[in-house]
């Protein structure tokens, strides 16, 4: 029972804690799990989240920064004014919980469709595009010399990597070929400034409350690169969840996003943002293909995974809308 290990762990680093209650798994693949629980404390319960790789699952997938780096980034983000949960504890071998960390639980909503439809967020929604611009500016300003070790990726390398991933699927997609050509022809080269890039900053990975963004989650794809990548990714149509005329996560316009970013003292390069939006659309399409491959070959023979393979065509129509708009 995980509550026993958690109780022993919190007793060591949370002064006054006498145990934990309500441990429940929120999500989990084979290698990474997220649990919620409450720390029992004389001042009242403390809401907490455990992110961990269970024992025996130390190695991170190649693109992932790893849980130790994630913990360090979230702590740095918290200190740098990026809405972020406070990291309370990084797991040590004595915890007997695997590798990972425990953070403060931030209340709010992460389900994109609810954030876009529910009345509770109606006042926050029109403010979010601009607010996200400000948050990304703060994130891109986090001090390089305090970052954990991260992979470094520029546009040229990413194009080559996605091309390899696509070719390994061995299923001809003329629209993806066209996108790869376009990306090579529009490769902006190395960024003027290399910064921390979140790598998966989008509607669905943000905790939103009635007051706006409360936390930025899922730092596992963080890397060093072109800061415009994050601005392009947040605009990918797949993360607008039907609100296709509001590019920034279904919340608002690129102008609002750019204004928020520039008001925080950083410069936007709209051509690079467009490049990364095309790249991001193709990236999600290839990931859909990858899910299909794992469904076919791997242990996860689930219907959900199978159906994600049939979502690659969504990115094909979005690529055509970006590269060959009709009536143009």
């Amino acid at each position: 029972m995980i509550e026993a290990e958690l109780s022993r762990s919190v007793a060591r680093w949370c002064s006054g804690a006498s145990g934990v209650t309500g441990a429940a798994k929120l999500s989990g693949g084979a290698s990474q799990e997220t649990w919620r629980f409450d720390i029992v404390h004389p001042d009242g319960p403390i809401g907490a989240i455990l992110r961990r790789s269970p024992k025996g699952y130390g190695a991170a997938p190649t693109r992932a920064a790893g849980l130790a780096a994630e913990a360090q980034l979230m702590q740095l983000a918290y200190e740098g004014g990026v809405p972020s949960p406070r990291v309370m504890h990084v797991l040590v071998p004595e915890d007997d919980l695997g590798t990972g960390f425990i953070m403060q639980r931030v209340e709010g909503e992460t389900i994109a469709r609810k954030i876009l439809r529910d009345d509770e967020y109606a006042t926050a929604r029109p403010l979010l595009a601009r607010q996200i611009g400000g948050i990304l500016a703060a994130l891109h300003r986090l001090p390089r010399n305090r970052l954990p070790e991260l992979r470094s990726r520029g546009a040229t390398q990413e194009i080559a990597e996605f091309e390899r991933d696509y070719r390994s699927l061995n299923w001809p997609k003329p629209v993806f070929e066209l996108a790869l050509r376009w990306l090579r022809d529009h490769d902006p080269g190395p960024a003027a400034e290399t910064t921390l890039v979140h790598g998966d900053f989008r509607n669905g990975n943000l905790i939103i409350g009635a007051d706006g963004v409360r936390a930025v989650l899922d730092w596992e794809l963080a890397h060093l690169g072109d800061p415009m990548e994050d601005l392009g990714w947040v605009c990918v149509n797949s993360w607008r969840f039907g609100e296709i005329d509001k590019p920034v996560g279904g919340f608002g316009t690129r102008q609002e996003l750019f204004a928020g970013y520039e008001a925080a003292g950083r410069k936007v390069d709209p051509a690079r943002v467009k490049f990364w939006e095309v790249m991001g659309t193709l990236r999600w399409g290839i990931m859909c293909g990858g899910m299909m491959q794992r469904f076919r070959e791997g242990p996860d023979h689930s219907m959900e995974r199978a159906m994600i393979g049939r979502r690659a065509s969504e990115t094909e129509i979005d690529l055509l809308r970006l590269l060959v708009p009709r009536g143009s």
């Binding site: 001809p172 997609k173 003329p174 629209v175 070929e177 159906m307 065509s313 969504e314 055509l320 590269l323």
Partner: protein, 125 residues
């Protein structure tokens, strides 16, 4: 030749049974899984209904575009290679129209409720 009912009719009968008789009895995660299962059967029904016609049109466009013959898979492979080599691009007459028509036919099967698809249908199919 196989007998009736057709695969389309059989698949649709299963989907309707799950949707109308079983779904109301189930809740929670299993209800979510059941919805996915019904969506799959609906997709299969759409594909069985449309694939023959859309593949024939696709092959016809590909033959004209490439000046060669083959199966729909072979021709798609050939087109993909020629785009990759830069021998065919958006300046090639017919390429944009072909990619749009093919993609619309895919979405009609995969995700007919996808917002981008519905928008493009409104613009004239």
């Amino acid at each position: 030749m196989q007998d009736e009912p057709t695969p389309i009719e059989l698949t649709k009968a299963v989907a309707d049974f799950l949707r109308n008789d079983i779904a109301p009895l189930i809740s929670g995660h299993q209800a979510f899984k059941l919805r996915v299962a019904i969506n799959i059967l609906d997709l299969v029904t759409r594909q069985l209904t449309r694939e023959e016609g859309s593949d024939a049109n696709e092959v016809e466009r590909l033959r004209a575009l490439l000046g060669e013959d083959g199966s729909v898979m072979e021709l798609n492979r050939a087109l993909a290679e020629r785009i990759a080599k830069g021998e065919i691009d958006l300046a090639t007459p017919g390429l944009a129209e072909h990619l749009w028509a093919t993609t619309m036919d895919k979405l009609a099967v995969d995700q007919p409720n996808y917002a981008s698809y519905k928008r493009e249908l409104e613009r004239g199919g």
